[in-house]
C-alpha cells in the first residue's frame, strides 16, 4: 500500500486531480513559492513565450503561426522518430517486393491508427502533467507497472540496437568504418541531451528529423508511376501475391513501423516536459496530425524509391540498408542511392535520440528521480545516465563481430506489434478514467477508434501466431 505521505489523495478519500486548480489557489501554494526549481523556471519561460504568442496571435495577422511553432514538437518528433531505420527498411521491403499497390494505402491506414493512439497521450500529458509510466504505476500499482516497463525496456533496447545498425549501414554506403559511424552517432546523441534545456533539445532533434524527407528526392529520382500510385490509393490493389506467410510478416512489420509502445511513453513525457497544458490540446492534436502526415509521406516515398527493384526482378528479401542503396544505384543513380543511404542514417540517429530519451523518462518516472531535459546533469544524473547508458550499450552491441544484426532487425517490428495491445489497454483505461482525465476523458468515438486499433493489432498478432504454428492455414 502506498504511504500516506506519498499518496495524500488516499487519505483524503479523493484522487489528486489537480488540473482544475492553480498553484496559487491550492493550499500548497505558499510552500511552493520557496520550492521553485531550475526545471520549473525553464518550463515557466517556455509558458511565457506561449502566452505571449497566444496574445500576439489574436492581435497580429499570421501571429498564430508563432504559437504553432512553439507548441509543435512532440507529435512531429514521435512520428518522424518512428520512421526509424527498421521502419524505413520495412517500407523499402514493401516497395521492392510488391511494387506499387496494397502497401501504399495500408501505410496511410497505419498512420491513421498511430494518430488515434498518440492523440490520447497528448491529452493525458497535458491534463495530468505526468508521464505514462508514472500514471501506470500510480493507478494500477507496481505489479502491472513492472509488466508495462518490462515490455518497454525490452522493446526499446532491441529497437535502439536496430537504430545503430541503420547508422552503421547508412554510412557504410559512403565507406565510413562502423566504429566511426556508430561512435559519431553516439556523440550526436550526447550533444543533443547535454543542452540542459528541453526546448533546445527538441529543436535540435526536430532539425535532424526533418531530413527524413530525403526519401522524397530519392523517390522522385526513381520516377514513380503516379497513375499507379493514385490507383493503389483508391483500390488498395494490386494485392501482394506469393508466399502468404511472408506477406503476413511484412504486414505485421509495417504496422510495427508505425504504432509501438515507446511512442506512447515518449510523447506523453515530452508533452509534460514541454509544459503543455489543457488549453494546448488542440495545438497538440495539430502537432500529432502534422507528424503523422509528414511521416506517412516520407514512408510512401521510401516505398516508391525501392519500386525499381521490384520492376527489375531483384530479390530484396534479405537486403539490409546498405544493400538497398547499392542495389538502387544502377537504377536510380548515385545521387538517389546516396540520398537513400543518408535517409537510413538519419532515421537511425533521430530514433536513437528519441527512444533512449523515452527509456530515460520512464526510468525517471518509476524511480521518482529527476526526469526532465530541463534539468542540469548534476540534478538528474540517473536520467542522463539511463539515456546515455542505453544508447551506448546498443551502439556497442552493433560493433560486436558476428552479432546477429539481421535477426534483430527482422524481429524488432514484429515484437513491437505483439507488445502493443497491453500498452493500448493501459492507455484506454487511463483516458477513460474520469479521476485522471476530468472533462478530457475519452468520448464514445475515441473509444471506438481506440478499441478498433487494439482489436486490429491483436488480430494481426494472432494471425501471425496461427500461421506460424499451423503453416498449412496459409497454404504454406
Amino acid at each position: 500500500m502506498d504511504s500516506p505521505d506519498k499518496n495524500p489523495s488516499v487519505l483524503a478519500g479523493q484522487t489528486a486531480h489537480p488540473t482544475t486548480e492553480s498553484a496559487v489557489a491550492s493550499a500548497a501554494a505558499p510552500e511552493l513559492i520557496g520550492l521553485v526549481t531550475h526545471e520549473d523556471v525553464d518550463r515557466a519561460r517556455d509558458r511565457w513565450e506561449v502566452a505571449r504568442a497566444r496574445w500576439t496571435g489574436r492581435t497580429k495577422k499570421f501571429g498564430g503561426f508563432r504559437l504553432l511553432w512553439l507548441l509543435v514538437g512532440p507529435g512531429v518528433l514521435v512520428f518522424l522518430g518512428e520512421n526509424d531505420a527498421p521502419s524505413m527498411l520495412s517500407y523499402s521491403a514493401d516497395g521492392s517486393r510488391y511494387g506499387v499497390g496494397f502497401f501504399i494505402p495500408f501505410v496511410v491506414l497505419t498512420f491513421i491508427m498511430g494518430f488515434i493512439v498518440q492523440e490520447m497521450t497528448v491529452r493525458l500529458g497535458a491534463v495530468t502533467h505526468r508521464g505514462h509510466a508514472e500514471l501506470i504505476f500510480d493507478r494500477f500499482g507496481k505489479f502491472w507497472g513492472f509488466f508495462a516497463m518490462g515490455d518497454l525496456v525490452f522493446g526499446n533496447f532491441l529497437t535502439l540496437v536496430t537504430e545503430f545498425i541503420g547508422v552503421r549501414a547508412g554510412l557504410g554506403f559512403f565507406g565510413v568504418r562502423p566504429p566511426v559511424a556508430v561512435g559519431g552517432a553516439l556523440v550526436i546523441v550526447v550533444a543533443a541531451i547535454t543542452t540542459g534545456r528541453y526546448w533546445t533539445w527538441e529543436r535540435i532533434t526536430l532539425s535532424l528529423a526533418i531530413f527524413n524527407g530525403l526519401f522524397i528526392p530519392a523517390a522522385i529520382l526513381a520516377r514513380p508511376d503516379w497513375h499507379a500510385v493514385g490507383h493503389a490509393m483508391l483500390t488498395w490493389t494490386p494485392f501482394p501475391g506469393g508466399n502468404r506467410y511472408e506477406i503476413l510478416l511484412l504486414i505485421l512489420a509495417t504496422i510495427g513501423a508505425t504504432v509501438t509502445p515507446w511512442m506512447l511513453f515518449f510523447q506523453q513525457s515530452a508533452v509534460v516536459d514541454k509544459g503543455m497544458q489543457p488549453r494546448d490540446i488542440s495545438a497538440g492534436r495539430f502537432d500529432t496530425f502534422l507528424g503523422a502526415l509528414l511521416a506517412s509521406v516520407f514512408a510512401i516515398a521510401a516505398i516508391l524509391a525501392t519500386v525499381p527493384l521490384f520492376h527489375h526482378g531483384i530479390n530484396a528479401a534479405d537486403f539490409q540498408a546498405a544493400q538497398f542503396a547499392e542495389a538502387l544505384e544502377p537504377l536510380i543513380g548515385h545521387t538517389g542511392a546516396a540520398l537513400f543511404a543518408l535517409g537510413i542514417f538519419e532515421a537511425g540517429i533521430v530514433a536513437a535520440i528519441a527512444i533512449s530519451t523515452s527509456s530515460a523518462y520512464a526510468f525517471g518516472e518509476v524511480l521518482q528521480t529527476g526526469h526532465s531535459l530541463n534539468r542540469p546533469l548534476r540534478e538528474a544524473w540517473p536520467f542522463y545516465l539511463t539515456l546515455f547508458g542505453s544508447a551506448s550499450a546498443a551502439a556497442a552491441l552493433v560493433l560486436i563481430p558476428h552479432f546477429p544484426l539481421e535477426f534483430v532487425v527482422l524481429t524488432v517490428n514484429v515484437i513491437a506489434v505483439l507488445a502493443m495491445p497491453p500498452a493500448l489497454a493501459f492507455l484506454l483505461l487511463l483516458v477513460n478514467d474520469p479521476e485522471v482525465m476530468g472533462e478530457h476523458v475519452n468520448g464514445f468515438w475515441g473509444n471506438v477508434a481506440g478499441v478498433t486499433v487494439t482489436i486490429l493489432l491483436i488480430c494481426a498478432g494472432l494471425g501471425f501466431g496461427l500461421a506460424t504454428v499451423f503453416p498449412k492455414l496459409l497454404g504454406g
Binding site: K6, T37, E39, A44, T128, P404, L429, F464
Partner: protein, 90 residues
C-alpha cells in the same frame, strides 16, 4: 479582462497577472514562475501528490491478464520462428 492579461493561468488568486506585452519576464521572482505554471506542473507539487490507486474491475483484470498471456505466447512463437530461421540459415 484586459486582453494582454488574458493568457495567464486561470485562478491566479493573490499573484499579480503577468503582462504578456512586456518583452521580458523576470523569472528571478518565484511568483512569476508560479504564475506561468499550473499547480501540478511544479516539480515540488508533483513529488507530493500522486494519483491514487485505482481498483480494477474483474473485467479490467481479466483483460490485462488475457493480454499478458497473449504477449508471452506470441513471444514464444517469435523465438521459435527465429530459431527455425537461424537453423535453416545454417
Amino acid at each position: 479582462m484586459s486582453s494582454h492579461y488574458a493568457d495567464v493561468p486561470e485562478n491566479q488568486g493573490a499573484l499579480a497577472p503577468v503582462d504578456v506585452k512586456s518583452e521580458q519576464l523576470s523569472l528571478q521572482d518565484p511568483r512569476a514562475v508560479l504564475s506561468m505554471l499550473e499547480a501540478d506542473q511544479m516539480v515540488a507539487a508533483k513529488r507530493r501528490t500522486h494519483f491514487g490507486r485505482k481498483n480494477l474491475s474483474f473485467g479490467a483484470k481479466a483483460l490485462l491478464w488475457g493480454l499478458r498471456v497473449y504477449v508471452v505466447a506470441m513471444l514464444i512463437i517469435v523465438l521459435i520462428t527465429v530459431y527455425q530461421a537461424v537453423h535453416v540459415g545454417r
